[in-house]
């Protein structure tokens, strides 16, 4: 690259003869030094911009999502009135099951009214009687019903009960809903919010850790307070199992062949270019493949973790093959030579010596590949994982064919809903997803630190 420096060589004699002290920089040097400093500053700015973008992203997600882990609960004594829940008094499960959530809604209404009476709250400004019970989530009635069906002895007793509050009430406690916004909101009245203030002062309402967010299934559009990630986490877990079981052995086998056995010819060259290209194919294209081949042609069920797992396995394969080959390549030839020298066959030298030594690198690559698969959304949308699923899939292997959701798809699903409370949920779901990713990457880093050998 001598031509690049030629202009300087030519320019040097043309510079004006220097006057004064050598320590005093002339105008041209000052200009060049300033250019140098500017260039450096651009670089530093670029690095800082990148990091600032990361920080902003994380602040935006954590700031918006951390509150999803806390939820408004109402704790009042609930009387499980026998005349409502079990008119015949027989405790016959079939009769008990006939009482719908409407019946339990009445129990909740009474409980709140009783609490108000017990605390000397006769009248709240702007609160209609029919709105009193509505501060409790509609999901709470279903939960009470399940509790009673599981334990009929509750009937007739009065028990201090913790119930989910309505999504708007939850938003009010978290500051998302204000008295101003409530005036134009048809889902909540000012009277309800005043009652909430009173209940909070008396300790009957407050924010608590929301286990339901992690364990409960998704809930309908009108009940953001009850929506949880249970099915999505399970679905993601099932898919990861499929991906691990399929792509790790196949990826390692393919890498061993390409790295150790394949003759250098056109055929292997095609395979290699193919693999590097597959690693860069847009993920949505894999979704089209999955829809056309696994769902439409092979007839596997839509929304099933097995299809998602197969699609993600194909996507993950090249991402496992590339680091695995690097790990195999990093094992020095002396190991192979020594094994061959004491009479091992090539296959034995690879499976007994090279592969175990390359294992930390292979596992690191696999975990990182799995982490990418865990966060992948687009292909899963096409194979129907966006469907609203409320039932937990059963245990594998048959559970692999049940409809399920996946963590990133659940996030997408919630962003498409009208109630702003779902945006908080979506951010919260991302926090869960990022925690999983962080854990996986941490394992990968520990593996690398602990077992990787430099030759």
């Amino acid at each position: 690259m001598t031509d690049a420096s030629l202009p300087h060589a030519g320019a040097a004699p043309a510079s004006p003869s220097r006057k004064g002290s050598l320590l005093e920089l002339d105008a041209r040097t000052r200009k060049r030094n300033a250019a140098e400093r500017r260039f450096r500053a651009y670089g530093l700015t670029a690095v800082c911009t990148g990091i600032a973008a990361l920080v902003m992203l994380l602040i935006s997600i954590f700031g918006g999502g951390a509150s999803a882990f806390r939820q408004a609960f109402i704790t009042v004594p609930v009387t499980f009135t026998e005349s409502v829940l079990d008119k015949k008094g027989t405790r016959d499960p079939a009769d008990l099951a006939k009482v719908t959530t409407i019946g339990y809604g009445k129990i909740i209404d009474t409980a709140i009214a009783d609490w108000m009476a017990a605390n000397g709250i006769a009248q709240v400004e702007g609160l209609a009687d029919k709105d009193i019970g509505a501060i409790v989530s509609r999901e709470a009635a279903a939960q009470l019903r399940n509790r009673v069906l599981a334990n009929p002895e509750l009937i007739g007793q009065t028990v201090e009960t913790k119930m989910l509050a309505n999504g708007r009430i939850d938003g009010y406690l978290k500051g998302r809903v204000t008295l101003q916004s409530a005036e134009t909101d048809s889902n909540v009245t000012l009277g309800q919010l005043r009652l909430v203030d009173l209940m909070r002062d008396k300790g009957a309402m407050g924010l608590g850790f929301n286990w339901g967010f992690i364990t409960a299934p998704d809930a309908s559009d009108q009940r953001p307070e009850a929506a949880g990630l249970g099915v999505a986490i399970l679905g993601s877990l099932y898919m990861m199992i499929v991906v691990l079981v399929l792509s790790l052995p196949i990826g390692v086998a393919a890498s061993i062949y390409l790295e150790e056995f394949a003759p250098k010819n056109r055929w292997t060259d095609i395979i290699e270019v193919n693999i590097s290209n597959l690693a860069a194919v847009p993920s949505i294209v894999y979704g089209i493949l999955g829809l056309a081949i696994f769902v439409n042609f092979a007839g596997l069920p839509m929304s099933a973790p097995i299809v998602g797992g197969l699609v993600l396995s194909l996507m993950t394969l090249p991402k496992i093959i590339i680091p695995t080959r690097a790990a195999l390549k990093a094992v020095p030839p002396s190991i192979r030579d020594a094994a061959l020298g004491v009479g091992a066959s090539k296959m034995q030298s690879i499976f007994h010596h090279v592969l175990p030594l390359a294992m930390p690198g292979i596992l690191t690559g696999t975990i990182i590949g799995l982490a990418q698969a865990l966060g992948e959304t687009a292909p899963l949308l096409l194979i129907g994982m966006v469907a609203f699923v409320r039932d937990f899939p059963s245990a594998p292997p048959s559970g692999l064919f049940d409809p399920a959701s996946a963590l990133p798809v659940q996030v997408y699903n919630w962003t498409q809903r009208a109630d702003p409370a779902f945006v908080e949920r979506a951010s919260g779901a991302i926090i869960v997803l990022l925690v999983f990713l962080l854990a996986m990457n941490a394992v990968a880093i520990v593996l690398r630190r602990k077992f990787e050998r430099r030759w």
Partner: protein
Amino acid sequence: MSGAWFAPHPVMPGILPVLETELMPATWILALLAALAVVGFVIGRARALASAGGDGRRLHSLPGFYGWHVAMFTFALPLLLLVVWMIVQPLYLREVVAPYLPASALETSAGTTIALQQLGGVAAQITAAEAEGKLDAAEIRALASQPEALAERLTAAGITVADPQTAVAAEEFQSRQRVLDIAKTAAVLALAVALLAWTVARTNRDFRARNTVETGVRYLLIGASVIAIFTTIGIVLSMLFETAHFFKQYDWTRFFFGTVWTPRFQGESDLGLLPLLWGTLYVSAIALAVAVPIGLFAAIYMSEYAGPKLRSVAKPLIELLAGIPTIVYGLFALVTVGPLLRDWIAQPMGLGSSGSSVMTAGLVMGIMIIPFVSSLSDDIINAVPQSLRDGSYGLGATQSETIKKVVLPAALPGIVGAILLAASRAIGETMIVVLGAGAAARLSLNPFEAMTTVTVKIVSQLTGDTNFGTPETLVAFALGLTLFVMTLILNIVALIIVRKYREQYE
């Protein structure tokens, strides 16, 4: 963003019985094969040792290899037969019942699959009814020539069939399937036993068991690496067939050169590619305009200026951007960047009032691809030999002059490759544009307006209610193929450039 996007997919009736009848026997056969293989291993090993008089040193191979030899043949070849059978049998049954299926179902592979699944569901019910004694196989076989009577008989057994034709088809399907299922189990197990016997018979102390086993393992390895090829073929074929269907129903010139995109449920849609392509390229261009300067300067700073301490902190942090799932960026665009741009720039300047815009998606996507530009460029700049830099310093150039006039020109091909890879990533990116760019297809220059991209339309045409017989759904495959070809070209050119560049300095 219509409500239909997340509408649940219609449940396919009768699919679970089909899966159960298909999978459960297969699981059992697999378990039997595994058991046979274990037995084979023990017998093979014992027989080899016996032939050597109990002295392992007199064998050609280690005793374990004799065991593996028997186990491998007993397990792998029958398994292969089972897999092939499970692929061929549905294809054969499809041919058998095809005359009974309505012509509308046969037009698309999805329609055929659904029709077959329904048939399979009825067939599974018949099998169940026979097992309970409600139906008699011979009796309904005899009724096959009288569709009405057959349908009545099935209804009496509690099986609902749409019409007599379906009843006949289901009966035909069920009886053949039953015969084939028995034949499958018998054939696979017979092959396994035969191979077990044969391999045990040829086991003696001079038999080269290790070589045989290793050849087998080698085929296994080759098979694994060929899967990559099959994936590519699968991708291309799956899109090619449906695209061909699409172009039968919709003129290809109207697709490639159409400037209007208005899909309608009633048909008569305008499905022009150009507005989508424009949106895709516009978003990608903004993303590159963000990512290339930042990524390149970050790479230069980190490889040329930064000390090891800063480098060890900043490099992983920037690469973290590449590890964050795209849905996170999508939400960031939707919740933070979109409203921010709308409230502070677009509305005050009167450019638009939409939170989702090309600018939103472009900016966020730009952040996402910074690490793709920076880490590859970093590697490439590091690969420029130090001697070039030293030569430049020796002539009196400052560090920045050296970088601008020597290092960057030397690294240029590699950097171009990195940018092309980033561009391919931007074009194929889905979640950011789905959540950030909007759904309106339009040709406009205003970056603060909502526009849409190829990937957004693939998602919207293939989710919700889909009918694989209509051009409105099939167009997604044509879009997918266009996307695949575009990114393929970019990837291959980039790969070739980067590879050539690496060789230059190695």
